[in-house]
Amino acid sequence: MTTNASKITIEFDDRTVRRFMIASIIWGIVGMLAGVFIASQLNFHQLNLTSWLSFGRLRPLHTNAVIFAFVGNMMFAGIYYSTQRLCKARLASDLLSNIHFWGWQLIIVAAAITLPLGLTRGQEYAELIWPINIAVALIWVVFAVNFFWTLAKRNEPSLYVALWFYIATIITIAMLYIVNHLSIPTSWTHSYTIFSGVQNGLVQWWYGHNAVAFFLTTPILGIMYYFLPKAAERPVYSYRLSIVHFWSLVFLYIWAGPHHLLNTALPKWLQMLGTFFSLMLWAPSWGGMLNGLLTLRGAWDKLRTDPVIKFFVAGVTFYGMSTFEGPLLSIRAVNALSHYSDWTIGHVHAGAMGWNGFMAAGMFYWLTPKLYGAKLHSTNWANFHFWIGTIGILIYVGAMWVSGIMQGLMLNATTPDGLALVYPNFIDTLTSIRAMMGFRIIGGSLYLVGMILMAVNIWLTIRKGSPVNESREVAVIERTQRDTMGLKETFLNDPIACTLAGMLLVLAWLFLPPGADIAALICAGVFGVLAVKRFQSGHGRWSAWYDSLLHNWMPFTVLTFVAVALGGLIQIIPTVMVNRATNVEDRIQQPYTPLELAGRDIYVSEGCYNCHSQMIRTMLPDVLRYGDYSRLGESIYDHPFQWGSKRTGPDLAREGGKYPHSWHYDHMMDPRAISVGSNMPAYPNLFTEKFDQKTLWKKIAVMTQLGVPYPAMTDTEVKTTAVEQGIQIVKELETQGRSGALPDTKIIAIIAYLQKLGKYDVPELEEKLKKTPEGIPFPLKPGIPDGYRTSAVTK
C-alpha cells in the first residue's frame, strides 16, 4: 500500500473472493449431484447401495451442501468483493480471511464425512454434530470480525444498503445458530438438544425459517443491490424503497417461523402469528423484487445479449415468485393440503435453484473476467446454461406442484359422510406420484448439466487469464467523518432507551405472575406516554439519531439486532420457560427405557425423520388415518423432537402397538415384502450391527439432566435393563416365528422404540375429574375438535 498525501492506493484482496467463488462452484456441483442421486433413490430404491449411501443419511448431505457450501461460499465471495469496493478499503485482515476460507472448507469436509456415517443431531439444516457446530460458530465470528473491522477502517462515510443486508445476515445467523444448537454432549459425536417437544419445534423452525431468510435471502439481496446496478450500469431504481425494503423485511421475517408448524399441537396464537407475518411479508419481498427489476430501466435491451443480466432478472423474478408462494403456503387451509407434501419441496427449490442458483451464476459470470483479466470463454455457453437451467427449474417445480397437490388431495380425501378415507392405503398415494418424481430427476439433472457447463466455461476463462487484484486510488477520510458514535452514544440516547425499556416492560407484563403483570402493564402505558412527550419535545434528536445510522455501523447493528431479536423473544420465551408438567394437555409422554432410547438414537441417525413425521395434525383426515391428534405433552421428552416436515412415508406418532414385532422385523429387512410399492430403503445392517451400550448410561444421565424423570441407575443397570428388554423382544419374535435375532442388535432397539411411539400417561386424571364442573368437556376426549381444546384446558 502506497500513501500519497490524503490519497492512498489500495490493492483489494481479490484472492479470497476467487477462492470462495471456486469453492462455491465445486461444492454446488457436489451438492446438486447428491440431490439428483437422492431424487433417484426415491424412485429406484435399489440405489440405497449401502447404509452410508441411504436416502436418510444423504438427504441432509444434499441440503447442507447446497445451503452452507454452495450458497455459503457464494455469499462470502459476493460480500467480500462488494464490501471492499463499497468501503473503499482492503479486507481488514489477510489472516482472518485465510482462517475464514480454510475453516469453512474444513467444516464442509467434516460434514461430508460425518453425515453419511449417520452422525447427526436429527434436526433439519441443523444436523451437524456439536464439535462442528462450535467450529461453525468460531468461523462465523472470524467472518464477523473481518467484516466489521473492514467497516471500521473504511474510506467511505456512508453505509450503502447492501452493507445493511450483510450486517443483518451476520448478527441474525449468529443468534439463530447459537440458540438452536444449544446441546449437552454425551460423547464426542453425539449430543442432545436442550429443547424438547414443542419448545424444540418452535426453536428449530425459528432457526430453520430464518436460515432461509438470513442465509439464503438477505445476503443475496445485498448482492443484488450491489451487482445488479453494476451489471446494468445504472443506480438502483429507488434508494428510498430499499430502506423500506430492508427494515420491513428484517423486522417481519423473524416472526414467521411458526408457519412450519401449522395445524400441529403448537399453540394457536403462535400459528396465527406465523400466518399473519408470512402474509405481510409479501409487501417487502415484492418491494425488493420490483426495486431490482426496475433498476434495469432503460437497459432492458441488455437482456437479449448479456447472460449476466439474464441470470439476474430471472433470479430476482424467482425471488418474487417464491416469496409469493411462501405466504400462500402459510395460510392454514392451504397448508393443510401442502404441508408434508412435495409442494413444499417444489417451493424451496424454486427459491434455491431460481433465486440463489441464478444469482450465483450471474455473479460468477460477471466476476470471473474481472478477477482473472480475461474475456469469458463462451457467452453462448453461458446463454445455454441459462436456458437449460430455466427449463430444469420449471420441470422440477412443475412436477413437485403436481405431485404435492395430487398426493395432498388424495391423503385428505374423505367419503361424503366424512367418516372414512377415500384412499386409506398410503402406498396408493405414493404410487400415484411416481411419474412426477421421475420428472423431478429430469429437471434436476438439466439444472446440474447447466452448473457443470458453467464450471467448464469459468475454468477455461481462468486458464486464458491470470489472477488480478484490483488496485484503486482512494481518498482517505478522517476518523471524524465516519463512525462518530461509540458505545456511549449508541446506547445512551432517547430512541434506544425508550425502545429497550418499552420492550422490557411488555415482556414483564407477559411473564410476571398475576398482580405484578398488571403493574408492569400500567408502567408500560405510563412509559409510553412519557416517551411520546419526549419525542414531541425533541424529535429533532430522534431524527438526527436515525440519520446517523447511515454513517455509523455500531448503532445500526444494535438496532438491527433489536429488530430481529424481538420476534424471537416473544415467541420462544413463553414456550421455553413454561412449567412443562402443568401444560401438557393432560398427557405426559412415557419416558423411553434405555433400549428404546438407543432405538430412538438409531432412528435419528438413519434420518428416518426425513420421510416420517411424528405429528398427527388437528385435521379430520390425519385423525382418520393415523389416530387421535397429537398433544403437546406427548413429545415432551423428545430431544430432539421428530415432528418432521415431509411424509414420503406415513406418520408414526401412534405406531406403537399397531403391528407385532415380526411386522417391523420383516419390514426393516425388506419393506416391499410387507408394503408392495414402498420406496423405503431396506436396512439389513441393523440386523448385524450392535446398538451402542458404551455411552448409553451417559445418554440417560444427560436426559435426566434435561428433566426426563429417570430413576437413578448405574452403568451396569442401564446395560442390563436394555439387554433384558432386548431378550424379551427376541422371545416374542420367536413366538411370532422369527428366530435368530440377537438382543443387542440395532433391529431389536429400533423395534423397541417404534413400539413405544404414542405411549403416554394421564396424570392426575381422577383429581381433575373431581374438580371439573358439570357440563365442561374435561378431560379431553379423543376426537374433540381443535377449537375447543384450549378453552377446556384453561377452565
Binding site: 462488494s82 469496493r85 463499497l86 467511505e156 456512508s158 450503502y160 444498503v161 447492501a162 443491490y225 450491489y226 446496478p229 453494476k230 450500469e233 445504472r234 443506480p235 438502483v236 429507488s238 434508494y239 428510498r240 424503497l241 430502506i243 423500506v244 427494515w247 420491513s248 423486522f251 417481519l252 416472526w255 399453540p267 394457536k268 396464537w269 396465527m272 402469528l273 399473519f276 407475518f277 405481510m280 409487501a283 484503486r472 407477559l510 411473564f511 410476571l512 405472575p513 398475576p514 403483570d517 431524527s543 436515525y546 447511515l550 413463553p574 414456550t575 420457560m577 413454561v578 412449567n579 402443568t582 401444560n583 403437546l632 377449537g787 384450549t790 378453552s791 384446558v793 384453561t794
Partner: protein, 51 residues
C-alpha cells in the same frame, strides 16, 4: 400468565398485534425514507458505480 400464553387461542388480539407491528414498522421507515434528501439518496444509490 404462562398458562394463558400457552393455551390462549387469542383469536381476538393476535391479528391486531401483527398488523399493528407491521404498520408501525412500515410507516416509521416510509417516513424516514421520504425524509431522506434527494441528493443524499442519489449519492447513496450511486455508491456501487463510484469506481
Amino acid at each position: 400468565m404462562y398458562k394463558r400464553i400457552i393455551y390462549d387461542s387469542a383469536l381476538d388480539w393476535v391479528p391486531y398485534l401483527a398488523f399493528g407491528i407491521t404498520a408501525a414498522v412500515f410507516l416509521t421507515f416510509v417516513v424516514r425514507a421520504f425524509k431522506l434528501r434527494k441528493d443524499s439518496a442519489d449519492k447513496l444509490s450511486r455508491l456501487p458505480l463510484d469506481d
